[in-house]
Structures are given as structure tokens and as C-alpha cells.
């Protein structure tokens, strides 16, 4: 604990100078100090390198209890939508059984995980969403996805009438920020958390009329 931080030292000077209050430190200065605190606190461990605390536009803009200005929101959403990689050969759906396994799996990308390969990752869906009604242990940070395809009238995913919802769902999974700049949901495709095939499998869980989600 011998480490004396520059900022702490600077603040100590303010204190000894007397009549120090937080109001003397401007919000902008506090922002800078908080960033410095992050850089000072973290060290890399396993696959979790220090670049993980370097924020991109959206992460930075959404790091406050208040939403970013409209112009920034639009910029983030436009960038996110442009980043979406559409599925090779136009094949949107995989196997819902694999999708269910991925939805159940909350693992991957922590410093205790051996590899950042998408094969080691789950999609963590049940952490935040209700999906198959049989699973009673589901989170509520996101909306219920039970009957996701059925509620949206998807009876045949190859039907052109279903295309808009199929494509929306793909983009939402690939980069959730395309429709909500500060969405709590990870950017599964964009951040390389899941492979194209894994996203297809999750798509099938949500949209395949045979999936238990749509019964």
C-alpha cells in the first residue's frame, strides 16, 4: 500500500490548503480522476487484458445515470447498425436445441476462462430473460422472450413476410446497440462473443416454430 497516487496527493494538497470541498473539484476533473482510478486499479489477468477498460464511443457515452444527448444516441445506433454482419448465404436459423444450451450457459470471457474463443462462451440469455417456460430460473433485466416468434406471427421463417422480424432479431443479437444506444445487452456478434453459427442457434430458439419457446 505504499503506492501514493498523484491525484490523491493533489487532493491532499487541496485539503491542507483548507476549505476543501467537493465543489472545488469540477465534475470534469472528477471524471478524469475516476478514469485515472480505473487505470491504476486494474491489472491484466489471463485473457482479461487492460484494453477492456478502454471505452469506445458507446461505452463512454452510456457510463452515466443520464442518457447521452440525442445526437450521440443516433450516432451510436447508426454505427452499431452499420456494424452488423448478415449471415453467410442468408441462413438465419440453426438448431434450437443448441440455442437452448447456449441460452442456459453463462460462461465465458472472464479472467478465469482459459480462452476467448467463441466455443468457450455461452449466450447467457436466461440470466436476464424468460425464454422456455420450463426453465423457472430466469432473470428479469430484459423482457420475457417466451413465445417470441409466435407473438410476432412467425410461422415459416423462409416466408418473406417474416423477413423483417428475422432480420431485426439477427441485428439485435449481433449488435444490440443498433436499436438502443445504451442497451444492457452485450453485442454478441460485434464483440466476438458468439460465432455466426452460435447466433443462428439462438435465433432458432427464439424463432423456430418447433422451438419450445413458440409452443
Amino acid at each position: 500500500m505504499q503506492r501514493k497516487h498523484l491525484i490523491t496527493a493533489a487532493a491532499a494538497v487541496l485539503v491542507t490548503a483548507g476549505c476543501a470541498t467537493v465543489s472545488m473539484v469540477t465534475p470534469a476533473q472528477l471524471d478524469e480522476q475516476a478514469l485515472a482510478l480505473h487505470r491504476e486499479a486494474f491489472r491484466e489477468q489471463g485473457i482479461a487484458k487492460l484494453d477492456r477498460i478502454e471505452q469506445d464511443l458507446g461505452q463512454k457515452a452510456c457510463s452515466s445515470p443520464n442518457p447521452p444527448p440525442d445526437a450521440v444516441v443516433q450516432q451510436i445506433e447508426a454505427q452499431a447498425l452499420a456494424s452488423v454482419k448478415w449471415p453467410t448465404g442468408g441462413v438465419y436459423l440453426g438448431d434450437w436445441r443448441e440455442g437452448e444450451k447456449l441460452a442456459q450457459n453463462g460462461r465465458g470471457m472472464t479472467w478465469t476462462d482459459a480462452t476467448a474463443d467463441t466455443k468457450a462462451n455461452g449466450a447467457q440469455c436466461y440470466n436476464c430473460h424468460q425464454i422456455d417456460q420450463k426453465e423457472i430460473s430466469f432473470g428479469t433485466i430484459g423482457p420475457s422472450l417466451y413465445n417470441y416468434g409466435k407473438l410476432r406471427g412467425v410461422k415459416d421463417v423462409t416466408d418473406p413476410a417474416a423477413a423483417p422480424i428475422v432480420q431485426y432479431t439477427w441485428a439485435k443479437l449481433w449488435n444490440s446497440k443498433a436499436y438502443s444506444a445504451c442497451s444492457n445487452m452485450p453485442r454478441f456478434g460485434h464483440a466476438k462473443l458468439l460465432s455466426e453459427q452460435q447466433i443462428r442457434d439462438v435465433m432458432a430458439l427464439l424463432l423456430d416454430p418447433k422451438s419450445p419457446v413458440n409452443q
Binding site: Q104, G106, R107, G108, D113, Q124, Y126, I136, S137
Partner: protein, 152 residues
């Protein structure tokens, strides 16, 4: 509740006593029944215990939650108001070995034992009472084990 310091010093004396005698005072302990703890089914277990066929009984109670937030710690109790109980056992059907705990009861305690067990998955849990007259009675309850937390 007794003072912790007293407890420590007292148990130190006790431990010293045990060390010198090499025996527990007045304990005639049955040898550990390894076969019983290896049993994969209720039938195998009864064989290992030399007990008869179990029958379900309203006179035996099992206390366990409907849902366990975590399978690592599931509170389970076995009890009966019947007289003449020799043993009470707690079983988890889908565990690698069914028997978790086996209690030898005397007339000096209630036939009412509570402990906590690990469950690998949702399963039926049994409380079994082995009676002095040879009857083997049980109660059963299903406990759902849920996945929890972030899961990473």
C-alpha cells in the same frame, strides 16, 4: 450460548483427555458402513444396511424446500413420532451415491434429525426410518435445484 473462550479452553481439555485415553468415553461406535455409502439405489442401500423393503408412510416426515437456490446446500430433515426407531436416513435419489446421512437414534433423542446435503440436480429426496421391529418406512419429496447467479 456459551462463551466462545470457555468453549475453546474446555474443548482443549477434552481433546487432551481423549488423546491420553485414545478412546471416546463410553462410545461403542459402529464401523463405517462403506457399502451403504456406495449404494446407487434404495434397494442396494437396504441390502447394505441389512434392512427390509421400504414402504411409504404418513408417519414419517421429510422437511426440505420445494426449490433449492443452490444444490451445494439443501436443508433436509427426517423425523417420525413413532416409537421404536433405530435409524433415520437421508437419501438423494439422483446423487452418485444415494445415502447422505445415517443417524442411529436412542430413546434419549427425538427421532428428528436435520442436516444439509449436496444435490447435483433436481431429485426426489427421502427420509427413511428403520424401526426396531424391522419395518422400513419412508417419506419422499421432490426438490428442484435451480441454476443461479451469473453462471460464470
Amino acid at each position: 450460548m456459551m462463551n466462545r473462550r470457555d468453549l475453546l479452553s474446555h474443548s482443549a481439555k477434552l481433546a487432551a483427555l481423549l488423546a491420553t485415553t485414545g478412546l471416546l468415553p463410553g462410545v461403542a461406535h459402529a464401523a463405517y458402513n462403506a457399502a451403504a455409502f456406495d449404494a446407487k439405489t434404495m434397494a442396494d442401500l437396504m441390502k447394505a444396511l441389512g434392512a427390509g423393503t421400504p414402504t411409504e408412510s404418513k408417519d414419517v416426515s421429510i422437511t426440505a424446500p420445494d426449490i433449492a437456490e443452490n444444490g451445494a446446500v439443501v436443508p433436509v430433515g427426517a423425523s417420525t413420532a413413532l416409537a421404536g426407531v433405530r435409524k433415520l436416513a437421508i437419501l438423494v435419489e439422483k446423487n452418485p451415491a444415494v445415502l447422505s446421512a445415517l443417524f442411529e437414534v436412542t430413546d434419549s433423542v427425538d427421532a428428528n434429525m436435520g442436516t444439509r446435503v449436496k444435490m447435483g440436480q433436481s431429485s426426489n429426496v427421502y427420509a427413511v426410518a428403520i424401526m426396531a421391529d424391522g419395518r422400513v418406512l419412508y417419506a419422499m419429496k421432490e426438490v428442484k435445484v435451480t441454476l443461479g447467479g451469473c453462471g460464470g
